[in-house]
């Protein structure tokens, strides 16, 4: 697989073309707005959290294939999960992008999200994949800021 092929895998291109849970919950309990000023990626994430479980999640906005696929895959991964699990997933996901390679066990936990591992070879694109996860982190944090900006 060439570097490009490992970045733009079928699954990513598919989620880019047809993002799942694309929209805005109304009403919602949690919200965050994630922007990347330099490349213009701009997403809103809305959540319905009940009893510390994310019962529904949507995202909307615009951005590159990586950020959009990441958002789509994220919603699938978090709906129905307890907040603590989501935080763990987020940490694992960012670890995959930013630091070491994952253990086999960790990759298992990430499931389909691991398809974004190819992004690691494109340092300029890491923040694209991370953006919606930063927004989730923000939305779920006690001190939610309403807008997070990655750079």
């Amino acid at each position: 697989m060439s570097r490009l092929e490992s970045l733009y895998q079928e699954l990513i291109l598919d989620h880019n073309k047809s993002p799942r849970n694309f929209g805005k919950l109304d009403p919602f309990t949690h919200y965050s707005h994630g922007i990347n000023p330099l490349c213009g990626d701009d997403y809103e994430v809305t959540l319905t959290v009940s009893d510390d479980v994310v019962v529904d999640a949507q995202f909307t906005g615009s951005g590159c294939a990586i950020s959009k696929a990441s958002g789509s895959l994220m919603t699938l991964a978090i709906i129905g999960q307890p907040v603590t699990t989501i935080i763990r997933l987020k940490n694992l996901f960012l670890k995959m992008l930013l630091t070491d390679t994952l253990t086999h066990d960790e990759r298992q936990q990430l499931g389909k999200l691991a398809v974004l591992e190819g992004v690691k070879k494109f340092p300029a694109r890491v923040k694209c994949a991370a953006l919606v996860w930063r927004a989730i982190e923000d939305a779920l944090s006690p001190s939610a800021t309403a807008t997070v900006s990655t750079e």
């Binding site: 970045l7 213009g40 294939a65």
Partner: protein
């Protein structure tokens, strides 16, 4: 293609021999910054290895020679832009500083509450934000002249936006996104009807069109060396001498003063008045060599080369499905922006890079203009004197690769 002034010119740019991601580099980001010819690099190296000394302050020979060398560059710049006098050439750190300088001193010494400042929709952030700030600080209003869909300033609207309360009109010579070459003389004439001060952002103009500030009639013209085959760290503000004399200084420190006491200070005459501190000595020397390079290539060759390549590029782009050009103005210079249906510019940038093709994707520091075209970002290929047909063919091939992934 490679005839006259540009024949063999690629060999003068060592970086062009480089590989990127296992492909020979195709450099199409000259709008951000140009590569440097060997002679500019050599001139700077020579200065650093043989002639380096401070300016202005030394009575010793090397310092005098250094001062004279920098002043010769000032003369060269003055004649290159046809300034009225060498004292109209102020060295700065770049276009951004030149524009901040002029906005700041107009704010301190000229603009008043209720005055209007007119800019255009196609401005770079460097020609927007300083005016927003100065407007805020003096209580002036910032107005924005609209462009039409092809990327030309709407002269009718511009005309009616220029009124007796308009005190400053600031616009770009050439758009860094649309490639639009503005009709500077016409715009100046309109602005001068009401006596407004005219500031031209020449960042994208200086290496692409002959600049004659007297013919243009503008009061200030700003540019950076690094977009004109010269070094980073140095730029120019060309300003009308009487205004430079009347307006207050900008930065304070050594060389811009006449006398300092703890009770107060008096300032030197322009240009020294605006050049506080040790100037970018080696970079000024490099700027001189870059301007001499442009002179040696010659406007005839520069313009013909640019014209041929831009036509070819626009033509070739039109063969790719789903490409929308952003900016099809009457006169277009070296920046070609576009978007591709179904693909975000960022993804295009990454794929092109894998093919060794360097273009810029993003908002190009012109976010408001992105809003006008309702796109989050564009892909921009911008040309320099070293580009050739093959570079464009490589770009087109790489765009076809993009299409393979995003069909």
């Amino acid at each position: 293609m490679e005839q006259g002034g540009v024949a063999g010119i690629r060999n003068q740019f060592p970086v062009l021999g480089r590989q990127v991601n296992d492909h020979p580099l195709v450099y199409l980001d000259s709008g951000a910054t140009t590569q440097k010819p060997r002679r500019v690099i050599d001139r700077m190296t020579q200065c650093l290895t043989r002639d380096y000394a401070t300016v202005h302050r030394g009575v010793y020979s090397m310092s005098q020679e250094s001062t004279e060398a920098c002043e010769r560059v000032r003369h060269l710049v003055a004649s290159f832009v046809n300034a009225r006098s060498v004292n109209e050439v102020v060295f700065t750190s770049g276009t951004t500083e030149s524009l901040n300088l002029i906005a700041t001193i107009l704010g301190r010494g000229y603009l008043k509450s209720g005055d209007e400042i007119l800019i255009t929709q196609m401005e770079h952030h460097a020609n927007i934000v300083p005016w927003q700030e100065v407007a805020k600080s003096v209580g002036a209003r910032l107005k924005v002249a609209p462009i039409d869909s092809s990327g030309d300033i709407r002269l009718d609207e511009f005309n009616s936006l220029v009124t007796d309360t308009t005190k400053v009109v600031a616009f770009t010579h050439v758009s860094n996104v649309l490639g639009t070459v503005n009709p500077v003389e016409d715009l100046v004439r309109i602005a001068k009807n009401v006596g407004a001060i005219v500031v031209v952002d020449g960042a994208q103009g200086i290496a692409h069109r002959p600049v004659d500030v007297r013919k243009m009639g503008c009061d200030f013209y700003c540019f950076s060396a690094h977009k004109a085959y010269g070094p980073t760290g140095v730029g120019v503000l060309v300003g009308r001498y009487d205004l430079l004399t009347q307006l207050p200084p900008y930065k304070f420190g050594g060389d811009m003063i006449e006398t300092v006491t703890f009770d107060g200070s008096t300032y030197a005459l322009p240009p020294a008045k605006f050049e506080a501190g040790t100037p970018p000595i080696v970079e000024i020397i490099g700027l001189g060599e870059a301007i001499q390079f442009l002179i040696d290539v010659g406007w005839h060759a520069l313009l013909a080369h640019e014209h041929q390549l831009i036509s070819y590029l626009m033509n070739q782009l039109s063969t790719i499905p789903g490409i929308q050009l952003i900016g099809t103005p009457r006169e277009k210079s070296a920046a070609v922006s576009f978007v591709m249906s179904g693909v975000h510019p960022h993804d295009v940038g990454t794929i092109l890079d894998q093919e060794g093709v360097a273009v810029r994707v993003g908002h190009h520091c012109a976010q408001p203009l992105m809003g006008v075209y309702n796109v989050p970002a564009t892909i921009r290929a911008s040309l320099g004197v070293y580009n050739n047909y093959q570079d464009i063919d490589r770009l087109i091939e790489a765009l076809l690769t993009v299409r393979k992934y995003f069909s």
